[in-house]
Amino acid sequence: MVNENTDAALRWIPLLPLAVAVLHGVMLGLVRRSLPRWAVNLLSCGSVALSFGVSVYAFFRLVSLKDDYRWLTDSLYTWFGAGVGDTRFSAEMGLRLDPLSSVMTLVVTGVGFLIHLYSIGYMADDHREDRGYQRFFCYLNLFTFSMLMLVMADNLVLLFLGWEGVGLCSYLLIGFWYSDRWNAYCGSKAFIVNRIGDFGFLVGIFLLFGAFAKAGSPSVAFADLRGSFELIKNLTMPAPFWGPSWRLVDVIGLCFFVGAAGKSAQIPLYVWLPDAMAGPTPVSALIHAATMVTAGVYMVSRLSFLYDAAPLASAVIAWTGALTALFAATIAICQTDIKKVLAYSTVSQLGYMFMAAGCHGYTASIFHLVTHAFFKALLFLSAGAVILAMHHEQDIERMGGLARRIRQTHLVFLVGVIAIAGFPPFSGFFSKDEILVATFASHVPGHLVLYAIGLATAGLTSFYMFRLYYKVFHGECRAPADVREHIHEPPGIVLNPLWALAFLSMVGGLIGFPVAYGKAIGVKDSHSLDNWLNKVVGYISYHVPHETEYAMAATAIGVATVGLLLARFLYLSRPELPARIAASAAGLQRLLANKYWVDELYDALIVRPLLLVSDRVFYRAIDAGVIDGAFVNGLGRSVRGFAAGGLKYLQTGLAQSYVFSMLVGAAVILWYLAR
């Protein structure tokens, strides 16, 4: 590690939000008073803004470094360590800014700042509880800190700290209005499902560290892992099934992916994300669109060197991502809650990112992560504006015709919809195209099927997003009369971040302008993102001829257009048709609208048996029966019995019997001494 790459400014990126979060916490928890709102706004948004500023500074510093030495580190202190000498291991509180993490920090702090501004307006009328406003910003800042620790960690253990921290803040924020039990339940669900993933993550860390330690390099820092990766690349471990042995890196990759599936809502651990919509809309935008759910994608990209050597794990990731994308898209076409549609859309887009990562297209997945952050946050926030305008109505069946009534919101929402549908030149087109190319050109078994799934999902995405758009903004207004009169544009503080995000959604694609098109317009090396990231996640290794790329782009645009036209037909031109179709395909409609009854399935197969076992076996039988009954109470009872049965007769109250006992003791001692 070259020392001139340290930069003490790095620590302020996560520490500023942390400081404000701690301040809010102390004010609320110990001092028990809330700051005035302007102070809360200034502190919270200011800290994130400053963080963004430092991130930008660090980014430019990185740019100025040479290609092979493009990293900055900042080590705070040694968190913990073990062992001595050769086998010494230590986990540092160290931050590392390299191209990958700088992209992430910019996204987190930038989009986070915009969402903080938005929240000022969104939560302004929330007087449901005392001090709730400050509590919200405290949690937001805490979340920002955790996410920044996650992306800037220089070792796996610190990444896990951030990982857990965002899970915690997700719970706190989803269940923000906890006086409604349903919200609290949703928060718990998110946390618990996350934990299941975290278990896999931990197992992965243990396996990885164990292998490295045995091979002679006990460290969890990414630099060391990457450097000594050759040591464990070809190790195998004995397998309980499916062959005599497995490759260790495959197992580790799969374990980490379990964690990613939990955090980034892939099959089978996605069930928490739709219910997480119970939280306030800024939370959905920040956590469940832009940042937390992308932690899994970041982690996979960070460990790209591992996945490059683990074809089985990568294939599993790619297939899971693809299936999740398709699965969630099918559910989204029948949802009627505006936020639920967006939630399933998020699951679907995350599936895209994992599909790309599984096909070794890490740059593509990060690219999509960035653009998705822009347009999904935009969509969520503008949906929030719609909800505000409709006085907290979220059912799209009761909306409609809002285009004329809330013009600006309508425009930004439209920008978001076009971006996610993948129409050029908006950002979504470039990133989605990148993913499809990566899938098409990869060597994952069945990659052509993956490509087909990706294409189909793109069509579905376009369809359901435009369905949403038409149902909310066009047609006749189906809202009740009293709501209809009070529909108005949200205040400036809410709209301005939306415009900023709209702008980013429009031009964000330029950072990954494919070389194929760049050549066409005479710009060399136009794929800036690839140039930026290739040292960290590997070059884009797939190459397709430019003509194929043009053809694929055209196919993608075509599919998206089909979706748009179909949605327009069904929801604008002939609004009575969907109901007739639903009636004739009632079973399918019910299946999709009830999200394949997955939650109910989990409940019946897993949750209820678990609760039953916990109650009957662990609580009643073991805890109350054995431990309490036999050991704790049993011990008490036996002592009492012994005392009441025999021991108490020693207390005769007669001094003489005590003298007698003393004499017996003296006799024994005397006998012993005189032996």
Partner: protein, 166 residues
Amino acid sequence: MSAPVVLFYVFAVLAVVSALGMVLNVRNTVAAALSLVVTMVALSAIYVLLEAHLVAAIQVIVYAGAIVVLFLFVVMLLNLRTDAFAPARARLQKLAGALIGVALLAQIVHSSLSLPTPPPVPPGFGGYRQLGVALYTDYVLLVEVASLLLTAAIVGALILAKRKID
């Protein structure tokens, strides 16, 4: 069998008999106290035979002359001449107590079965002069502590026995 030895046995038997008389005498407390006096005087005689003259004198003066008298005072004060107690409840305990006493005795005897013959004793041994010197030079601290102890005992006995503190 020289005179001291015979005398020793006589006094020994006397001591044991009167001790038994004290312990086994159930009805008359005053008689028990007087038996104790006899025991003490017999022991005093034995002390003389063992060349502990001052101790023998003090035994008679303090033990027989003060302590047992104190006992008798209390017996008279409380009018406890006769014992009208029902037999004690713990008969087994009494028997066990007796056995313990015998066991202790056996142990002590067993430990001291062979002792060497005592050397001749120098003149003045056990006399008041030598004992006094020893008390006030080597053991002066003991004397002081003993005086404190007696003071404490006096105060304690006073408070316990007073009718009420006024």
